[in-house]
Symmetry: C2
Subunit: 458 residues, 2 copies
């Protein structure tokens, strides 16, 4: 699919240069909003308003939603009040909120001035919820039914009011205080007899989330129960909005990216990579780099305190990188496995002993394999092939024993730290490779010098 | 939500011990299938068939789908043929295929014997598609309409046949050769006049995937275009199935886990962590560990060849871990950012120069910051506080220059390798931290000894 839009971008560029505007309009109207947004991204900023105005109203609004916020801002600034109103009128309220959140204050007040009073009220309601809460991503455009309606009444109501609703496939049943008492799918309604009462066929135990809950919880519930939408209720249990599955997918993708960034020692940001300035990227990367660099002071101190030992047995130094890297890799395998299993709900803190016991057995298998391979490799390559006479059998044994014990220690640290972080309410994802590596480096050196002292008597 | 099921598990355990089976039945029937599956997971294997038989038929089949394959197999082995038929009859065909794929041959043939002929034919059709293809995860239970039907006819047809369909919210329009010619949502149908023809209101440019395309492509298209379902067509463009959004979410989660595992030098597996034996985990982790360990031979060789230099300036050794770690972290920040951006479609190979230019500026900012901080840290802590007289200004400068240049090299390697891997048709995810670290280690040592030779004249 990516290849096709690529070609379209070049075509549109050529058509703009040739000023063939009606052709551009005809071409763009055959496409879907998401693809139009991709094509418009490559259009020169000075030409963008011109090309955008070629689109039919409804399609223009749909494509607008899919665009990046810098292009949205540029367009809004070029719109007349009447044009802005046309776009805003076509938006679903949750999309309008997404756009408003990214805009500077003066653009926001222009958008709100053009929105009709109902829309303005809904936008302001949603803006009140804290960032990343379920309330902040919900939409208030859903179908609400009463328990004493018949299936036929309900379908008639949907046909009358459905046009503005973000989904009509799951409807929510409320009592006279607007408290959520059930949910019913359009499928159930359509497959029921006309006169059946909603109260007889609705699901009473509708899964719902609270406005203040984390958006990730809402997304997980949608995915776990295979729902199309999940209702959002306030502290009193009153229905205030719904979150639809397409928004949940975006949340899951966003949160996964955050997890992956944290695992790589990056402070998460909301912006796509190519939209960030080098200074913004620097800000997201430097804190962990600096912290980890400074904490490597400990490894330096350990090496310094064994300076004389290293001078006596110069061959030992050459194996330090291999020992540290293998330890780091072993530890990060365990930590990343545990972090991901925690995040998709495969394990939780109470599984800690089962996890440790499993990792211990894996660690012993890995330690044995690598120690044996390492022994063979050192004797064959370093001693026989490269003729390093300083690599004695004693040194080889120190290296192999250290390797084995480091792997076991690394897997233990790697699997326990994320679980402990979770228990203490921190994000397990920061306990990934870089953090584990720093700890395992120090451990591996301590083990190395302990074995060296013991076996080589230095 | 996790806390609640936890308590339920204990309640059910106590009720099983007290043999209060009708209470168990009453409790379980208030729950959703996904939660029942979680609770059943903690039930002892010898009691599982007994507890499962307490569930009403339909709920039993729904919970069965959500269970882990080892428990499904145990249950199937305990079922009579009649019981097995009851469960199989309630399954959607894509769920049946998922189950069949995990079972040993003798269980599979029992399942197929109990399935009715239509179901058996559909299962066999889907099983023919290659693993991870769109065809292998599709369902054949969808609503098919003809262009010359009226909206009212279509709704009547849905009401008549909808019960067995996995979704009725998007229907697909085919011509007399079963070629896909359009799609129409139930919303459009319901909001149209009764006598409107389908051909007038359907979307003709329905996004579709081919049976042999990667399941990930199908999932991405569903998410990009905010669809509820995507039609799957064969080589001749004939409609053969659909993939629904809930399956797409599972695919996205699975593929992301694979990416994350590859980034941590683990060979991806399909099994959840707790279900894997230590030997299976070992098999998934040892190949990369061994490869990376052996390639660390190069770093050892570099250090060996500078043995005399290190002996002359013993202070140099203590900074090796810090330089290697900071280089590795800088590189993996860049590589992980690029890998994730590639995977969510934010960048592609053609952006390579833009990426390199951005990373270069970020690298220079990071390099300057860390070199300055490192200089201050060495002079304040190592020299003044710890009184290491061997750390001269010369040594400090060697360390800081190496640090700066290593960071720049690491960011360059980190951002280019995943893009090149993508271009050459490899998976960019393996170009993450462990791989980059091994390369950057060797680079940082070469830079280190070059600066040492230059500045310290050793």
């Amino acid at each position: 699919m990516t290849e096709i839009t690529q070609t379209f971008e070049q075509t549109i560029e050529a058509l703009i240069d040739a000023k063939k505007y009606s052709t551009i309009r005809d071409v763009l109207t055959t496409l879907r909003p998401a693809d139009i947004a991709i094509i418009l991204e490559s259009v020169d900023n000075t030409k963008l308003p011109l090309v955008f105005r070629l689109l039919p109203k409804e399609l223009a609004a749909e494509a607008f939603v899919e665009m990046e916020s810098d292009q949205q801002e540029l367009l809004i600034r070029s719109f007349s009040d009447a044009e802005l109103k046309e776009v805003v009128d076509e938006l679903y309220v949750d999309d309008a909120v997404d756009i408003v959140e990214e805009m500077p204050a003066n653009v926001v007040s222009r958008i709100l001035r053009q929105a009709d009073p109902d829309m303005r009220k809904m936008i302001n309601e949603i803006l009140k919820y804290p960032e990343d809460s379920a309330g902040s991503i919900m939409t208030t455009e859903y179908v609400e039914l009463r328990p004493d309606m018949s299936a036929d009444d309900a379908i008639k109501r949907i046909r009358r009011t459905g046009i503005d609703k973000e989904t009509i496939y799951t409807c929510y049943v409320t009592d006279k205080d607007r408290k959520l008492i059930g949910a019913i799918t359009l499928k159930t309604l359509l497959l029921s007899e006309d006169e059946t009462l909603i109260s007889e066929i609705m699901r009473e135990d509708a899964v719902c989330v609270n406005t203040l809950e984390d958006q990730e919880e809402a997304a997980k519930a949608l995915s776990k129960y295979d729902l199309q939408a999940i209702p959002v209720v306030d502290q009193e249990g009153r229905l205030v909005g719904i979150i639809t599955i397409d928004d949940a997918i975006d949340v899951i993708e966003e949160e996964t990216t955050e997890d992956i960034e944290k695992m790589a020692a990056i402070m998460p940001t909301d912006k796509p990579y190519l939209k960030m300035t080098p200074f913004e990227i620097w800000k997201s990367r430097i804190p962990w780099l600096m912290l980890l660099m400074v904490s490597a002071t400990f490894t330096g101190m350990i090496i310094s305190s064994f300076e004389t030992a290293l001078a006596a047995q110069a061959a030992l130094t050459a194996f330090i990188p291999m020992l540290m890297d293998t330890g780091g890799n072993s530890g990060s395998q365990a930590s990343v496995t545990v972090i991901r299993s925690l995040s998709i709900g495969d394990i939780e803190f109470s599984d800690i002993f089962q996890v440790i016991w499993k990792e211990l057995r894996v660690a012993i298998l890995c330690a044995l394999t690598l120690a044996v391979v390492s022994f063979a490799k050192i004797q064959l390559i370093d001693v026989l092939l490269l003729g390093h006479t300083s690599v004695t059998i004693g040194v080889t044994l120190v290296v192999c024993f250290t390797l084995a014990l480091t792997i076991i220690a690394a897997k233990f640290v790697g699997c326990t730290l994320p679980l402990l972080a979770k228990k203490l309410g921190f994000d397990p994802a920061v306990m990934a490779s870089p953090f584990i590596t720093t700890i395992v480096d120090a451990l591996s050196l301590l083990i190395y010098f302990a074995f060296a002292t013991l076996i080589l008597k230095i």
